[in-house]
């Protein structure tokens, strides 16, 4: 006899829980003893109507999903035209794969897209390199015994996650512009005569962008690990202590290995998002000095598409980016399935 799940297949793989549910439902129907044929038929018809009625309730929402997520895919066709909004698609010239050829043949275009890809990958890899920081943060915060201290640190360090990038830029501007706090302090201390340029410069842009990302995301990123630590079986620690393990050995041989599965999932997801840095952060920090090194793919698409008005070229690049991202995600998911026996999406 099958074990009936107490709750309706929470978590777990939806496909399997769904299958189990259907089987359970079928068994129940078949085995229910006191039903006449007619009443069963009536019930099934009513059930069918009911099931369709339920679907009709969600149709308006499915239309929204279609319009905002699926229908725009049709817009990829703009990449085959020299699209001018004033002329409409029918009035625009069909140019075939011209934009894609331009991407790999025109030397200026190749140089530009090469720099953009370099920025994108550099910032993504720096992001991946720093993705271990929230884990370390959690492991060490867990060593703090006073709950009030732990909670205060958590509250204060997660706050930056909830402000917009505009506000982060505002903070960066107040602290690091030529008339900002840091330059004022250095100046008052007599350490500098000319203000240091932290923002209006093309130096270390990848690094500063990564650091702002860390500032914003460190505390929040640690929460998931703190919860995972709370879930570690305490007997592991106790038996290790009996074997004479010290604080750092407990971290090294128990806590960190126990957190690895969570870390790997997040790591794989960030690999899948290699090309998706988003544009907001880079848009607000962008200026005439750092434009060359701050332009990541998402920002580049915005800059040439909306600001520069080459809609077709921007569509072509965006399309390539989307396709590569989906392929990356599927690959990473396949790897995860082979390694962990469980998919990540």
């Amino acid at each position: 006899m099958r074990e009936y799940p107490a709750s309706r297949g929470a978590a777990g793989d939806d496909m399997t829980s769904q299958l189990v549910l259907q089987e359970v439902a079928a068994t129940e129907l078949e085995e229910s003893p006191a039903t006449e044929k007619a009443s069963r038929k009536w019930r099934r018809q009513a059930g069918g109507r009911r099931s369709m009625g339920m679907f009709l309730c969600i149709v308006p929402f499915m239309v929204l999903v279609f319009v905002f997520s699926y229908f725009p895919l049709y817009g990829w066709i703009y990449s085959l035209f020299d699209y001018r909004p004033a002329l409409g698609l029918s009035g625009s010239e069909f140019v075939g794969l011209q934009w894609f050829e331009l991407l790999v043949s025109s030397p200026t275009q190749v140089a530009q897209i090469g720099q953009v890809l370099l920025n994108t990958l550099a910032i993504s890899f720096l992001g991946i390199a720093t993705s271990v920081l929230p884990l370390i943060f959690a492991v060490f915060l867990n060593e703090v015994r006073a709950p009030w201290f732990r909670n205060s640190v958590q509250t204060l360090t997660t706050l930056p996650n909830f402000i917009s990038w505009v506000l982060v830029y505002m903070i960066a501007f107040s602290l690091f512009s030529s008339s900002g706090l840091v330059n004022n302090i250095l100046n008052d201390a007599g350490l500098i005569t000319q203000p240091l340029k932290f923002l209006d410069t093309d130096q270390n842009v990848w690094l500063t962008m990564t650091l702002w990302g860390v500032w914003k995301g460190l505390g929040w990123g640690a929460i998931i690990y703190l919860a995972a630590i709370a879930g570690i079986d305490q007997s592991l620690y106790e038996s290790a202590k009996i074997d004479g393990a010290g604080r750092f050995q407990l971290m090294r041989y128990i806590t960190i290995p126990q957190l690895m599965p969570t870390y790997l999932v997040l790591l794989l997801l960030s690999v899948a998002n290699l090309l998706n840095n988003g544009m907001e952060q880079y848009f607000v920090f962008q200026n005439a000095f750092n434009k060359e090194t701050i332009q990541v793919l998402d920002l580049y698409v915005y800059n040439i598409g909306i600001t520069g008005n080459s809609l077709s070229m921007a569509t072509a690049i965006g399309m390539l980016k989307s396709v590569i991202s989906v392929v990356l995600l599927l690959t990473v998911n396949w790897i995860a399935k082979r390694v962990r026996g469980q998919s990540i999406v």
């Binding site: 309730c57 905002f68 997660t158 107040s174």
Partner: protein, 306 residues
């Protein structure tokens, strides 16, 4: 190990050094995260001639609230505040109701094509047609320069639906069975039985949605050129870049209003930037500590799904 004697844990020298280092590092990190907010606040209430020179660092100087009164009269600011509040309220309400309903419906195994439609929604988290195609669709639908561009695209949100569905699936089945016995239809079951019992997860959804709505900047940038639809975030971005001319404008209008202009209350680029920033961040600072547990719950439930 020698620091356990007769079952009493004694702190060795190494432990104390570790604890001091550990606490110090966390105090430093907390300071780095909190001080910028404090800096904005003290600068927005200090004498403007002092703050303009960057001399307000630890404590406010000659506290006054004149900046808030003057900044609120800046051209466009009251309207932007209304737009930001409206999009947050309406957008959150719509997202919460839709997520509650869809999360509930997708837990109904009897629904026609449930699995297919659920995947139809969830899969949209993993691809995007790209900026330009979406922009053209918005334009075609008449959503550019339209308030509803802040609401309609955010009604169906896969992540929220996963949260609600997971929650509903953990509720006892008897709830629904009893209602079905009484002959209630699916909408009655949703509104009368499930909606009132979902509040904890809906609070989580609401708080995530509200923060995202309040902080949203990109949609104004891409879809809106009409100044009456600017949000506070967008206005702040503009203020950072144009604070000089704004200070002039505020001086002119402020002079007419109060009649007294002193160096301490004359608007400067710094005072305007700081004051508007505080207006933008204050709701978050107040709301966040109160609702922190909901945020944490949300991320944990989301993590279960991976």
């Amino acid at each position: 190990m020698s620091n356990t004697t007769f079952g009493v844990r004694r702190r060795g020298g190494g432990d104390i050094i570790f604890a001091i280092t550990n606490y110090s590092v966390f105090i430093a990190l907390a300071f780095l995260c909190a001080y910028p907010f404090y800096f904005l606040i003290i600068n927005s209430i200090s004498a403007n001639d002092v703050s303009a020179l960057g001399q307000v660092r630890w404590l406010p100087v000659d506290v006054h609230l004149e900046n808030y009164a003057q900044v609120l009269q800046l051209n466009g600011l009251p309207m932007a505040a209304i737009v930001s509040i409206a999009r947050t309220a309406i957008g959150t309400l719509a997202a919460v109701l839709a997520s509650a309903f869809l999360g509930f419906m997708f837990s109904q195994s009897k629904m026609w094509g449930r699995q297919f439609w659920y995947r139809f929604v969830i899969i949209t988290m993993y691809f995007s047609a790209g900026l330009i195609p979406v922009f053209i669709v918005m334009k075609t639908l008449g959503l550019t320069n339209n308030f509803w561009v802040y609401v309609v695209p955010f009604i169906v949100q896969p992540f929220f639906i996963i949260l609600v569905k997971t929650y509903v699936e953990a509720m006892p089945e008897s709830l629904q069975e009893a209602a079905e016995m009484d002959g209630a239809n699916i909408l009655q079951i949703f509104f009368r039985i499930f909606l009132p019992n979902m509040t904890p997860i809906l609070a989580t959804v609401a708080i995530f949605s509200a923060v995202a709505q309040w902080n949203s900047f990109q949609d104004t940038l891409i879809y809106v050129t009409d100044q009456s639809l600017y949000t506070l975030q967008y206005l702040l971005y503009m203020f950072i870049n144009q604070a000089n001319s704004l200070a002039q404008a505020a001086q002119n209008s402020g002079g007419n209003l109060s009649g007294i202009i002193t160096a301490a209350t004359t608007q400067t680029p710094t005072s305007i930037r700081m004051t508007v920033s505080v207006l933008v961040v204050l709701p978050i600072i107040f709301i966040y500590p109160l609702f922190q547990r909901f945020f944490v719950k949300g991320i944990m439930l989301g993590a279960v799904k991976g």
